[in-house]
């Protein structure tokens, strides 16, 4: 696939904390909400629920797929909205790998399954689905309540 049509979001960051510590922030609700969301219900085992309320009524919902502490975590990800027609959750996939790096951790992040622009134009369901999801993202963009972007939960 050409880079221009690649829609996965990939990131690599170095964290001055051991993988065991970083792992806690991925799977423990009280720690997970320190970096994302207002509330979280996490059941970190294959098939277990992943549910993070990013804003009131704006919930990221999915299922854990691979749980290999403290090395690798894979879960599905989608949006649901309690006041609007629900969007099927679990439509995209997030993979996090933690590699020891001296005293710290190298974290590799990938959010894949986001429809690329060309495929979106070709496939009806992909297009409808993407737009519905984006509508919810758009509501998160509402200037009146975008505290999720300031990193100060």
């Amino acid at each position: 696939m050409e880079a221009s049509t690649e829609t996965a979001v990939r990131r690599e960051i170095a964290i001055a904390a051991r993988p065991e510590t970083v792992w806690e922030f991925l799977v423990q609700p009280e720690k997970a909400t320190r970096w994302m969301g207002q509330a979280a219900a996490l059941d970190p085992r294959p098939g277990g629920e992943y549910r993070v309320e990013v804003l009131s009524g704006n919930v990221a919902l999915g299922e854990f797929v691979e749980v290999d502490p403290p090395h690798r975590l894979v879960w599905t990800w989608g949006w649901t909205d309690e006041s609007q027609s629900p969007v099927p959750p679990g439509s995209t996939r997030i993979e996090v790998e933690l590699e020891p790096d001296g005293d710290g951790t190298l974290l590799r992040f990938m959010h894949s399954g986001l429809p690329d622009a060309e495929a979106t134009a070709k496939h009806a369901h992909g297009w409808d689905h993407y737009l519905e999801r984006l509508e919810i993202v758009a509501r998160g963009e509402d200037p009146g309540r975008d505290t999720w972007l300031d990193g100060n939960m």
């Binding site: 510590t21 970083v22 922030f25 622009a117 984006l134 990193g151």
Partner: protein
Amino acid sequence: MEAALKAIAAPHRRQILSLVRDEELSAGEIAAHFDVTRPAVSQHLGVLKEAGLVDERRNGTRRLYRVRPEGLQPVREFLEQFWDERLDALKREAEIEERKKRDGSEH
């Protein structure tokens, strides 16, 4: 980017995008699919065009519309920004926690 998100936030505009996904249609043909007035459809098309989500092409006296796939590129950039902010916060919080643990173990 914000224009694209606002453009797709309206159900009618999402329906229009679905209609012109696979084929070029005129405003009249689009209006035939809805219980909305032709001027309303034209207004929606204007918003979609402004947001870069549809292309307009003249064919004789007709104006035809179809989806412009690359219009969604800014949305991807939004997601990248979202994750950059979140991962920065994760790094910050995990490092604070790690310092707490290390200070704790020294005593």
